[in-house]
């Protein structure tokens, strides 16, 4: 009967192979491109870190990076508080719960390019409900010509599409808080804010961290929706890193710089995610030790 059960490893093997093929090999290909130049015909020349220098020095990259960072910052600043607020306002029991949950899940079920198309049509001044509506109210709105309007449209679209995710994550954290905590807080005379700060927030902290990371990475890599709605315009005003990258790689076929840029892009995401994670986990510890000093 003394059989070592090693079958588990066999089960994992296909997944390991899949990860190797789907992630590591393309990544190595990109690394390969990023240090070489080609003039077609499958001829490659070693250029070292030249593409990296060029990308890092290019104004086009800087602008795209700034736009992307600004976009992510705005998305997080709106979606996280809004998501928490909606989750707090949602009912905790009764049939209204399922209704709210389905309502919340709806936007998440729509394919990304369809979301883009919906808003592209929705915002059009000639036939779109939103665009036409605003125009008939006398508001000068045109996302294809006005940079501000384009940004507002993209942000509202993303908020509409993704706030649900934050809501659902927070809600799952909130419903897991036992009722006695609220009773105890009421007896302690805690204000609504104190209940949120000292009971709800600590309990949803972990899911909130996941929400922030997911929303950051996702918004930082956003491509499909702005591509469908604005195509990066007007001008370059909504050309985020991802759109820029595709334009460079596919539109201009500058494989070397595009590869270098995607590696830099990848490292930035990695770095910022790590920063978010460490700051948010240590923030909690700091808060506690600071209060300890009173």
């Amino acid at each position: 009967m003394k059989v070592q059960n090693n079958k588990a490893w066999l089960m994992v093997l296909p997944m390991l192979l899949l990860v190797a093929v789907s992630a590591i090999i393309p990544l190595m290909t990109v690394v390969n491109y990023s240090v070489q130049d080609t003039f077609g015909n499958n001829e490659f020349f070693w250029v070292g870190t030249e593409w990296f220098h060029e990308v890092l020095a290019s104004e086009r990259f800087h602008n795209a990076l700034q736009r992307t960072l600004l976009f992510s910052a705005l998305i997080l600043a709106i979606e996280i508080p809004l998501g928490i607020a909606i989750a707090l306002a949602m009912p905790r029991r009764g049939i209204a719960v399922s209704f709210c949950l389905v309502l919340m899940a709806l936007p998440l079920l729509i394919p990304w390019n369809v979301v883009g198309t919906i808003w592209q049509v929705f915002g059009r001044v000639d036939i779109g409900l939103l665009g036409h509506g605003l125009a008939s109210l006398g508001i000068d709105y045109n996302y294809t010509q006005n940079t501000f309007d384009a940004w507002v449209t993209l942000i509202i679209m993303d908020v509409w599409h993704w706030t649900s995710l934050v809501v659902l994550l927070c809600y799952s954290g909130l419903v897991s808080i036992p009722e006695v905590y609220y009773q105890a807080a009421r007896i302690d005379g805690a204000s609504r804010w104190a209940i949120f700060r000292f009971i709800q927030l600590p309990k949803i902290k972990r899911v909130l961290l996941i929400a922030v990371l997911l929303r950051f990475m996702d918004s930082f890599m956003i491509y499909t929706e702005p591509f469908v709605v604005t195509g990066g315009g007007p001008g370059n005003s909504t050309t985020f890193l991802s759109i820029d990258l595709v334009q460079m790689a596919v539109g201009q076929f500058d494989l070397g710089p595009a590869a270098a840029m995607s590696l830099i892009y990848f490292l930035i995401i990695l770095l910022l995610s790590w920063v978010f994670y460490t700051v948010m986990t240590s923030l909690d510890n700091d808060a506690a030790s600071e209060q300890g000093r009173h």
Partner: protein, 377 residues
Amino acid sequence: MLRLANIARRVDSHNALQDISLELKRGELNILLGPTLSGKTSLMRVMAGLDRPDSGELTFDGESVIGVPVQRRELAMVYQQFINYPSLSVYENIASPLRVAGLDKQEIETRVAQAAQLLKLEPYLNRKPANLSGGQQQRVALARALVKRASLVLLDEPLANLDYKLREELRAELPMLFAELGAVLVYATTEPSEALVLGGKTACLNRGRVEQFGPTLDLYRDPDTLMAARLFSDPPLNSLALSRGNGGLRFAGAEQALPAAVTAELVNALPADEVESTLTLAVRGHHLRLGSDVAHASEPSTRESLIEIRGTVDVTEITGSESFVHFTFMGQPWVALLDGIHALPGGAAITLYARPHDCFLFNTQTGKRVRKLSGGE
């Protein structure tokens, strides 16, 4: 028979289980007694095959069962939480392990009916678990474990979430229910009184080690270590270090030595190699008595043969027929369990007596018993 030999397991770099060797026989009730985190649940998980020990042997009827997945073991487990299938009726809950085993319909009906009768669940067979009281829900879980006729039954504090009185009732029924199975029965609890009511054998667990294993009453009356005595005392065990000098024993820090007769009785019973050891004396609360309760207390010869304990009352708890008098003796918190109502105010002086042969002596360094006494006989 379930045999454990030198079982050890580390969890997160601390020793959850250390060097555990036990032989648990079929048809016997084996109790694991210890506080929270003493390793009771860890040990049960190893027995069940849910966790693999880092080292040691685990055999059932002579065959090693290490690495045998839990699904293939003949095993039933009941937890502190009432775990039933919420969507199934009580009948279906009890029948579920039999359906998995592929028994025919007739056999399932017979066995479920039997278990339901034993556990008084007959009126509730068509209900859902959510419509039952806590005690009934736990009966369903027990019935499920019972019908399976497993050769190893693990009960992890099964009564902890029940009402006190219900606990008393089920506790009395449990050993009888499982006795007929001829299974190895293991029962974890934190309460000494529960172990005493259940009887059988007890293993005292402390920090992942077995302090002592043997018949429950022997362990209670004749603990091998100070820790085992502590684990098996409710109210908590009273203890104090003794010191030597001027030809007598005395409580550490006390001015007066114990009476010569008491010293002689204690010293005479010491094994030769322990005569020089530092000793700790321990006595259970109900072995402390007021002077008025000691027969012939007024006679000097009686007083001379008793250990006198003078303390200051901390607080008194009265249960209606008994009093727990918490007092401070030589700076240590002690508790006496006295018959009758003794409403002593805090700060009052109290004098109590203990018979030397009701006391345990331990080697202070090793924590081991240094004298064998016949306890309360």
